[in-house]
Symmetry: C2
Subunit: 414 residues, 2 copies
Amino acid sequence: MDKLILIGEKAKKASYLMSNVSSITKDNALEAIANALTKNEAEILKANEIDLQNARAKGISGALLDRLTLSKERILSIAQGVLQIKSLPDPIGEVISMWKRPNNLTIGQKRVPLGVIGIIYEARPNVTVDAAALCLKAGNAVVLRGGSEAIHSNTRIVEIMQMAVAEAGLPEESIQLIEDTSRETAVEMMKLNKYIDVLIPRGGAGLIQTVVKNSTVPVIETGVGNCHIYVDGECDQQMAEKIVINAKTSRPGVCNAAETLLVDRKIAQQFLPKVLNSLQKLNVEIRGCEEVQKIFSDTIPALEEDWYREYLDYIIAVKVVSDIDEAINHIHQYGTKHSEAIVTTSYDKAQKFLQQVDAAAVYVNASTRFTDGFEFGFGAEIGISTQKLHARGPMGLKELTSIKYIIYGDGQVR
Amino acid sequence: MDKLILIGEKAKKASYLMSNVSSITKDNALEAIANALTKNEAEILKANEIDLQNARAKGISGALLDRLTLSKERILSIAQGVLQIKSLPDPIGEVISMWKRPNNLTIGQKRVPLGVIGIIYEARPNVTVDAAALCLKAGNAVVLRGGSEAIHSNTRIVEIMQMAVAEAGLPEESIQLIEDTSRETAVEMMKLNKYIDVLIPRGGAGLIQTVVKNSTVPVIETGVGNCHIYVDGECDQQMAEKIVINAKTSRPGVCNAAETLLVDRKIAQQFLPKVLNSLQKLNVEIRGCEEVQKIFSDTIPALEEDWYREYLDYIIAVKVVSDIDEAINHIHQYGTKHSEAIVTTSYDKAQKFLQQVDAAAVYVNASTRFTDGFEFGFGAEIGISTQKLHARGPMGLKELTSIKYIIYGDGQVR
């Protein structure tokens, strides 16, 4: 039998068991995972070293190599993340509502696991543990397909996790890794509708688009953020400057970082020189529209494509707009519906922006950097959804669940 | 410019307006639609007559022709359906929860429209109105793509609805029909991720599978129901017979009708002759496993494929099982996760069935025929979701919405 189908069948079978285990058993399994990871850190580091050697031989360096790298400290922090997930309340089993119909049927809407969750991700071995732990806590079986660069680390980590969950009384097939990292196998995985209930890609825009294009399994699209800050003509300019600098420079490589600054013409002459100067001092490259170029000489002319870019870098696109309507239209045309912010002292404009901007998270007078499961108080995050179906914005444990209707009758027919 | 992209752009633009209009305006538009349909019934019937003539010329008859057929009474009933949707509460704008973070950020989760909903359906002109009215009430723009057989009826109906909504002050592009009913255009529609937020197919299994396979736009899979009734050894056999007969024969052509009867071996000898005799009197063909064949002579041997079939007809597959576990395993192997019922007097087995069966609606002692938006009390229904993402089971207005986070700050940075 096809190897992937075998994995799918095992996962589906495990998911039925997983949906019925107690919170205590799941928590014991998570604790067992955390302990096993630290206990076996030498083995994990050995496997990771093989991946690192192969990566260096392929010329991989910089941020990519850093993401692939494990250390004693990183393994400890990964294990602590598992214990943090353990400490969260179990989302499963909650009856969200229950009502009685005129014919005396009692209908309840109950939170249940999604079933089998597929995760496709890049060369970050921490995702292997993180995703598995979140799926397990929400009662799901998980099929992991990580990047080829991390295959030795991932294989060892998954073996360790499987032994740990088995000791705690859960099926080891509740966590499985696809060891064949070929593109063909990934595409085959995306068509496993019979076994996989949801596919969540975690990684760059290229990976996500490949999954969206090829998958017949329902997908939760995550991550791409072309986020804007609109600085209104009526605002506290000091606050605006602080927010722009934070949103752009506190961590430029993440999806909730700002990429474009829109400034109301009424204050452009006054506000732009200050903020652009501060940004430049922080090594941010300025790409601006013609008006910006006139106001701030050290501006690179922005091309049409700049308004679409998610730089994930020390670069910002800057545009002067006539009013809030032009700002909102610009956001709708070029944005990715991730996180958008207005800085204003006007009640009307704050309300208008909150109401009209179509994005997962819309801010008044705060940095877009807060779009994050931990910052929102969810205690965990599997990613940030930029689609509107099922989940939008930061996804915590609840977003890894579905519902079913349970109906109590006493002989009703229609 | 490509015609479909133009439709998509107009729909997206209209959706931004739609998400901001008041409930009163939407309700006025729905009332205008209902009035316009009855006022223009002669024109609609004339267009429908062309479709009917073409259909007859193509040799279409029976149930298909009946579904295509409009009449004065049917138009009135369609218009009344619109007024019924009008009378439901507006789901949009509800702030589901709002909380404050330690840094004083206030985060609210607000119900918003999905945006642009695409509906792909077959030759049922009533769906044109029904789907448009539901989408409108939930603040969405809709792009309709109906079957070629109903094109004249659909074109006229949509024109009438567009005039009505425009009079009420809504953009007429909030309801659009794709007049080109070619397969190529349908496939192109399924890739319009930039403009269409969700695609809902309504129709037979073939249509739904085509959409699931070809669409890169997120899909809500609806409808296919291979529903089971498991009659437990401990049960009220009279109740069981009543439920089986209702689930199979009250309307065999719909997705919540039962297709397979599973009977506990302990009562098979006693229960099966009675119930199968009653079913046969109602013209139901019996296809059974070997044990059933021995108990009830007039049984056609069931083939493996029979357990997978959604007959939508006066046929039932019947199997004797050893216990509830075999029943649940059978349901998981062959079922479509739609509606499943147990008939039992045992508390433990009722609880076990509710807990373990993985389906949108799980019943104790009631007919599967209740899986329906109206029967559940939602006041409307756009379809029954058999997937686990976003919506599961009967979908009402709430399932045509998404959420967004609105965040009130006073200068917070991270």
